[in-house]
Amino acid sequence: MATKLRARRHRRVSPTSESRLAQWTLIGLSLLFMGVILVLPLYAVFHEALAKGIGTFFAAFAEPDAQAAIRLTLLVAAIAVPLNVIFGLAASWAIAKFEFKGKAFLITLIDLPFSVSPVISGLVYVLLFGAGSFLGPFLKSYGIEVLFALPGIVLATIFVTFPFVARELIPLMQDQGTGDEEAALSLGANGWQTFFRVTLPNIKWGLLYGVLLCNARAMGEFGAVAVVSGKIRGQTTTMPLQVEMLYNEYNATAAFALASLLALLALVTLVLKSALEWRFGDEVAAAER
């Protein structure tokens, strides 16, 4: 036994692997890069937020404008995320359970918002509802403000978070096929019963995964919302916009305090996301990101 162990220790490096030295050099290089590029900014947020003591940190949240920004961010996410969940469920049902012409094209189209710059995602709504457009003055005559108001912020947020739930569910439901649903239907369940009792339990972890990512982006969106919000203090500033305003007013500590709340949201999202991947790997695995 002892000689066997020694023999193994003295064995040459396997031909399909690298020497220990090479391995640790590559690992060290990777971790250094990730440390500088990813971990350091995260650390900096909390470091700067607490730089002037815990009192200043909490004082930042006592500001009415900060509280209004937090409320607005939660409200926007509470509208945008459920709408994209309904869309994601409908789209994945149509795409995974049926065959039709142009399906591959539709899947590509759903990913489209990912290749549009956030600023452009905001701009298109300015063109659609702003001065000089047809719709803007028309809606205004009925007292409905879209731009520089809640509806515009919600629309821009829906635009940028549009693909998240759908792109998570489509490959998952395609993997699962239609067997379970056909069994339920043949046993006399109606369409809604089949969806709620068979399909939904099958996809619940994948759905949660998509909702997590969608929500993180919805609460954190900056570029698209900056364009449509008008940045009216206390009224149309979401948390990321409030962070920017505070930062530009040289109130860095308050900016970082509010930013730390968003960073915390990002951390919670990452932890839950990883937990889902580890525990329910297969049920969220059909998605690659």
Partner: protein, 285 residues
Amino acid sequence: MSAAASALSRSRKRNVIPGFGLTLGFTLTYFSLIILIPLLALAIRSAGLGFDGFWKAATDPRVLGSLRVSFVTALIAAGVNVVFGTLIAWVLVRYRFPGRRIFDAIIDLPFALPTAVAGIALTAIYAPNGTIGALFAPFGIRIAYTPIGIVIAMIFIGLPFVVRTIQPILEEVSHEVEEASATLGATRFQTITRVILPSLTPAILTGFALAFARGVGEYGSIIFIAGNIPFVSEIAPLLIYIRLQEFNYVGATVIASVMLLISFALLFAINLIQAWSRRRYGYGD
């Protein structure tokens, strides 16, 4: 007889699952209202300018300058990300070390961290008095408020695209190919550069294109660190924003159209790469 049989088989093939009209109808309506009509509004506004008007606005020196800044910095950042992203994907897939899972999870941080937060954090680090900025300041090298800062921000937001595209492919590369290569007398270095890397090429190209496209469009994490000096460190998305603040909708529309055309061309290229790699290697999404 045969007509009846084919009619029977056709009726048997008919899908029993309900809700096709409802779900596809909702999907198309929602897509049209949220994505298609707004994008068409942009296209119609651009078309309304006519070719001469469009060309004149698109070749404005400041517009060209901002496009150059965006594309050059995004190209450099995507290049850096390809090198380190491939290395990180390799290390995460092939080696076992303490904390591997935590580092694997942290790769997705740029997806989860709001861009404005990343922007002010990077600025704090790379400003002349920041943790890393202070290391370079004595040598007269400024990172924040220069194009180097833009590249740093783009590296941050682009990294997960490269790692997450290469990782699943690397997991699929079979050990037998490497063993065969080693048995035939290849050194480990030869096996990696001549056997493994070529099979990763489509994934690396896709990751590069994704990171590049994201970098070109990025706004939030860049504007704080960039310095935003026209012709030097002013990115195209920021110029769109500035034009909108000036109520110069035509100027904003033209820059946006140019950027959209280029990113759609990129998207098309990514699809081509994936189709090609599926044909060649049997995988590649």
